[in-house]
Amino acid sequence: MAQLSGFFDDADETAVGAHRPYVEPEWQRIPHEVLPTQLPLNGLLAHGRDIALVLTTVTVYPTGLVFSVRAVRHPEAEGFDHDLSGAMHAFSNPTSADRFRLGIEYADGRRATNDFPGGASGPHPPETVLRDLGGGGSADGAGATYWAWPIPADGDLEIVYAWPGRDVPEGRYTLDGATLRAAAAAATPVWPATDAASS
């Protein structure tokens, strides 16, 4: 048997192999290397049966935006709603009639929906992306966070929502395009230019 004692003594514990971290393409990726601009647009979208939909934390990056939708249970609803959190996402129940439906529409007619929760589908690069980033829940309700790409070059961006299984009819919320573009331009780098390692 070969003498293996001391085999690792000279190993560089900080060495990084050739397997570098995967970096998602621009249309899928939140650019965390910039400080985004937040828009104080938190507000009630709609009331349904025992739930209300609330828009929160609209956060604008140079390439796209992140926003959250919360389903808040009526205070008098009892017990625990076992189905609520799962019904917000299409990951596990894509064809359920109870599922929350969400979409985005650009002024030029491009659309994306949460029917494809992983984000881009079809051609690459896609025309638009609406990606379900996950969420959470409690006895009081559930929430989901989304990535929408790109920032509209012209016109507004509409968020379209419906939840037939919870008696929320189709509705729209308009994000002002000029406000989005100004917010995207105002995002600043987290890292000083001289401090970032070579990419």
Binding site: H32, G79, S199
Partner: protein, 217 residues
């Protein structure tokens, strides 16, 4: 199948038994009152950068009538594979959003101080004590998430200051980030809380009384 040939698991019922009809409502000092639309304070800012290339960012501040929820996000330096590797895995989550003794010395330290001298920190082992009486302050972890090159932790801070400002304090000593203070303007906090108070989602609804810890344990 067991040796006797009987299935180990009983057949599933049509639906699991619901817990008792009463809905659990945490005491006001522990509970985020989601029946109000929170007011977003657009305070995104860089808190500091560690010696090993991790940026700590205050990424969300939401104000409710009773307290505030904020998020700290940790982002590795772009192109730095060592920093990128640091933010993966459960050990790192324990450092940023976890409880428990093993990581206490390595913890991303988070605290707050009120102008009247009250303080709160996340340097506890098991989270805030459950007691029927309201403590002076509460700072508790409200979950977190990560993946794709970041980790973030959410915190619930209670109460809002009746007067004066509120200062968040962040340090990560073992990674070389010394104490950083972020002053949240008290007048802005109180105005945001008022805005949330009038943004009640179900006005007129009857609210269940909180379940006190002594009823649970």
């Amino acid at each position: 199948m067991t040796d006797a040939g009987e299935p180990f698991f009983a057949p599933l019922a049509e639906a699991p038994d619901d817990p008792p009809g009463r809905r659990y409502v945490a005491p006001p000092w522990m509970r985020i009152p989601t029946e109000f639309v929170p007011t977003l304070l657009p305070l995104v800012r860089l808190v500091g950068i560690t010696d090993d290339g991790l940026a700590v960012v205050l990424s969300e501040v939401e104000v409710y009538p009773t307290g505030l929820r904020f998020t700290l996000r940790v982002v590795p330096r772009p192109g730095d594979d060592i920093a990128a590797a640091a933010v993966t895995g459960p050990d790192f989550y324990a450092e940023t959003a976890g409880y428990g003794a093993p990581r206490l010395a390595r913890r991303l330290r988070v605290g707050a101080c009120w102008d009247d001298g009250r303080t709160a920190t996340n340097l506890f082992l098991h989270g805030p004590e459950f007691d029927d009486e309201a403590p002076a302050t509460v700072l508790r972890v409200d979950g977190g998430s990560g993946g794709g090159g970041f980790v973030e932790a959410n915190f619930w801070l209670w109460p809002l200051p009746a007067a004066g400002d509120l200062t968040l304090v962040v340090a990560w000593h073992h990674r070389g980030l010394e104490e950083q203070g972020i002053v949240l303007n008290g007048d802005e906090l109180r105005a945001a809380a008022h805005q949330s108070t009038v943004a009640e989602i179900w006005p007129g609804a009857r609210h269940a009384a909180p379940t006190l810890p002594s009823e649970l344990f």
